[in-house]
Amino acid sequence: MSIRHGLLALLEEGPRYGYQLKSEFESRTGSTWPLNVGQVYTTLGRLERDGLVRPDGEDPEGHVFYAVTDQGREELRVWFGSPVRRDNPPRDELAIKLAMAVTVPGVDVAAVAQRQRAHTIRALQDYTRLKARALAAEEGAAATDLDTESHDLAWLLVLDQLIFQAEAEVRWLDHCETRLVRHAERAAERAAARAADRPTRSPLTDPAATKKGARR
């Protein structure tokens, strides 16, 4: 996750000090990804080392301000201009769990999926409640306060992303379940076909091959 670029984007609006960066980052993302101040200062240190930001004076309380450099602006431009890489997916615990569940004997995969779906739908409900609140706030906000409005919009976009992702997970779980049912049906059919085959292969030696089995 690019804290680096997030901070550069905030500094693009003007010089800020560490704690300001932390709280503005969180207000735009609704504290979904909380930052600690230490992380912010470490990142600022690296950005400074790489020539993307520079210290920009102190206020009377001793807060050290940082400003973005031209090189930093260029870095930001490239970031906005390029897609987020998806060719190296992060490990997904749920996908790994289901992949293991289908291979480990004795695990009820359908129950694993069902339990996860219940959990994800509850998360989806929580996000939706937050969204309903954010939408109501957006409508109620005074039209004059453009700054708050754009922060609300940023937070809504983040919430939407969480919602769509949770929905995708539920749909994937539904799909997995359908696939499992089909798989079980096919396995049952194959087993039945094998059972039906047996008497025709050796009708004379198979004691179970009675009238019915020997018909063919």
Partner: protein, 248 residues
């Protein structure tokens, strides 16, 4: 508000017998918004038509505001259906020759109110959901989202406190659908009860409770499974396709 007690619905007979619903229990209280999810053919629509008194249960009881629908005369059932329940459909179902206010006031006029009184209530209902300015528009002069909001106002006019909604956002884009759900949510927060059938989890998430129908059985998503069901083996615990009807 709405109660289903051990409700089953069987279509057809003998080999063609289909169990659309199997001993379903469901209670929906005032102020509660319940979403019903499930794959197609799982019994969602059957549940809604039974709750709305449009079809009758093969066994079990359906109660609306304490009245058991199966015990009512045809006439009394029609009265409950018309006076206690509002319907919202995927394709809005507004009457094209009537304005928004006229569509909303129609049920009240059928209730016996004077035209003027009914219109007053209709305008108040439209105001409540923020679309008073649309009162004199005809359906074809409104967007889908606006029409659906009018349909919600119509569903809850007068003493109607129960809305049955069948895929109400199915014909709307995702942002518009969301604003319609926000209206439905708001009506429930104000004391109405709603049952909404949807196949989209994102929409179901606006509800207080999400229940899941599969093979005609109801699974409450908010009730966690017992831990021991996780290790019973796939052929054991789960319903599966052949369950009940017994044919393979």
């Amino acid at each position: 508000m709405l109660r289903l007690r051990s409700v089953s619905r069987v279509h057809g007979q003998g080999a063609a017998e289909v169990h659309a619903l199997r001993t379903v229990d469901l209670a929906v209280h005032p102020g509660e918004f319940v979403a019903v999810m499930g794959p197609s053919g799982s019994g969602k629509s059957t549940l809604l038509t039974l709750a709305g008194g449009l079809d009758s249960a093969s066994s079990g009881q359906v109660l609306v505001e304490g009245q058991e629908l199966g015990a009512l005369s045809r006439k009394a059932l029609a009265a409950v259906r018309r006076r206690a329940i509002g319907y919202v459909f995927q394709d809005f179902n507004l009457i094209p020759a009537l304005t928004a206010a006229e569509n909303v006031s129609l049920p009240r006029e059928l209730d016996g109110l004077s035209g003027r009184k009914a219109r007053k209530e209709a305008v108040a209902a439209l105001t409540e959901i923020g679309i008073a300015d649309l009162a004199d528009r005809f359906p074809d002069e409104m967007s889908g989202g606006q029409q659906q909001r009018v349909a919600i106002a119509r569903a809850l006019i007068g003493d109607r406190r129960l809305v049955l909604a069948d895929e109400p956002t199915g014909a709307l884009d995702s942002a518009t659908g969301e604003s319609v759900l926000a209206v439905l949510r708001g009506r429930c927060d104000a004391g109405a009860a709603a049952v909404m059938v949807t196949h989209e989890a994102r929409h179901a998430a606006w509800a207080d409770r999400v229940v899941f129908l599969r093979d005609g059985r109801l699974v409450d998503e908010s009730a966690p499974l017992a831990a021991e069901t996780l290790l019973t083996g796939i052929t054991g615990g789960h319903g599966g396709a052949g369950d009940g009807t017994g044919t393979l």
